[in-house]
């Protein structure tokens, strides 16, 4: 096996990343209590659902318009939790989808959550809705749903594009309590402007680990943190050395 020139460093990093990932998955699986810091956006989910229950209004959940990617996978974990809570509290949950592939997965996730909560009868198939795979058509339909069904909470987690601003402001106008989260960093400012709580970038990817504490997910978070420490240390050391005229670390990144 031989490597493409200029990729040795990346490849070694990837191997270490995968190794640590396995190590931490096994550690969590064998019962070790690994810590994860508090994230306000997730703690707000209960508040949002609770308020809908008090007001007798539905909860609205959306993934945005993006492709089936890492954001959507992270959002599935949040949806599972939200659906379970809604089932327990007898609060309606409206899920709107923009992707054909995601539609069936969300149907299964929501139905499973209702069954697990012992409320299989309360599951309404009509409430997990495919809307449109065209961004603007999707927006136009959600604006309509907000005005006509007036959800009390609007939860937006996933790969959002420009619809983030329109949906968040439309939710604000009907007085919904809103939590937005996306790994697409560019959309975060719009959530900040119009939502009550925002999960900034990477925070969304912590969802599964934070909510469910599944070993695989906790392991991934610990491996990711290794990547961040690696970055912090190389950047600080590298720039100090570069200032002193020593390019050891800079050259390392070209290998």
């Amino acid at each position: 096996m031989s490597l493409v020139t200029g990729t040795v460093g990346k490849f070694v990093f990837l191997l270490v990343f995968v190794g640590l990932f396995w190590y931490f998955v096994n550690r969590t699986a064998s019962g070790a209590q690994l810590h994860i810091r508090r994230i306000a956006g997730f703690d707000a989910l209960d508040e949002a659902i609770g308020r809908c229950t008090e007001m007798g209004r539905p909860v609205h959940y959306t993934f945005g318009i993006g492709e089936l990617d890492a954001n959507v996978l992270a959002s599935f974990d949040v949806l599972g939790y939200v659906a379970g809570q809604c089932a327990k509290m007898d609060t309606d949950l409206i899920v709107t989808n923009a992707l054909g592939e995601v539609q069936m997965m969300t149907e299964e996730i929501v139905r499973a959550a209702y069954i697990n909560a012992g409320k299989a009868d309360s599951y309404k198939a009509d409430n997990v809705r495919f809307i449109s795979n065209v961004q603007t058509a999707y927006i136009s339909a959600i604006l309509g749903i907000f005005q006509r069904e007036r959800p009390g909470a609007n939860l937006m987690m996933g790969p959002f594009f420009a619809e983030s601003m329109t949906l968040a402001e439309a939710g604000q106008q009907i007085g919904a309590i809103q939590v937005g989260g996306t790994g697409r960093v560019i959309q975060v400012p719009f959530f900040i402007a119009a939502c009550d709580y925002t999960l900034v970038g990477d925070e969304l990817f912590v969802a599964g680990a934070y909510i469910n504490r599944k070993p695989v997910q906790v392991g991934a978070i610990y491996a990711q943190d290794f990547g961040k420490w690696f970055t912090l240390i190389t950047v600080i050391a590298g720039t100090i050395l570069a200032t002193m005229g020593n390019n050891t670390i800079t050259d390392l990144f070209k290998k």
Partner: protein
């Protein structure tokens, strides 16, 4: 059967993801490159089929609404007719057909452009509320926002030429640096989630079994 239902999809994911990822690094053996090339081309074809899923889902949703007489069910006829008619036109008579283009230019395009432009109104009210120096975070947001607003169009330059330089500085340094930090964080998050799929540890996309 159990293998076909739950294990095979995961193993195909491991194979597909593994080949495409390794292709970035590996020069030899050559079959990794070949597999990756094939997989990418196949996925383009699968994605083409996936695009048609929407029309089918939509038909299912709206025929249900008509059957159950849900709220505003009368409008569902419009959607159903539009899906079937326009798709048939595009597939049978081709996208370059004049009628197809007429509808695209005079219905689809203005609808899409206008819905998108609602964004402008919504962002102005959202910023009107968000840009209020309620606390220290909001104050920082406000100051950097207003400077950039003034610096990125002619009028700010007319008031004080310095707005322009200040905006360039904010965009090139604090903004670029913070975005870089966030991008690096998000990249690691994406790596974590993607590796869960590539290593065959993720089941969320298969309906959470």
């Amino acid at each position: 059967m159990k293998f076909l239902r739950s294990s095979l999809p995961i193993w195909l994911g491991v194979l597909g993801g593994g080949a495409v990822l390794l292709d970035l690094f590996v020069k030899e053996p050559a079959f990794v490159k070949l597999l990756s090339k094939w997989f990418l081309e196949w996925r383009v074809i699968l994605a083409s089929f996936a695009l048609t899923l929407g029309a089918g889902n939509l038909l299912r949703v709206h025929s249900n609404r008509i059957r159950l007489k849900s709220r505003d069910w009368g409008y569902s006829y419009i959607t159903a007719v539009a899906v079937v008619g326009y798709a048939a036109l595009g597939i049978i008579a081709k996208r370059t057909n004049p009628t197809y283009s007429f509808i695209f230019d005079n219905a689809y395009s203005p609808l899409s452009a206008t819905v998108f432009s609602i964004n402008a109104f919504y962002i102005s009210t959202a910023c009107y509320r968000a840009f209020r120096a309620r606390n220290s975070h909001a104050a920082v947001l406000l100051i950097s926002g207003v400077v950039v607003m003034l610096g990125s169009v002619g009028i700010g330059y007319a008031i004080w030429p310095g707005f322009n330089q200040l905006t360039q500085w904010i965009m090139n340094f604090p903004n670029s640096a913070a975005m870089r930090g966030m991008n690096i964080g998000a990249a690691l998050g994406i790596m974590g989630v993607s590796l869960r799929v590539i290593l065959g540890l993720e089941r969320g996309h298969l309906g959470g079994e």
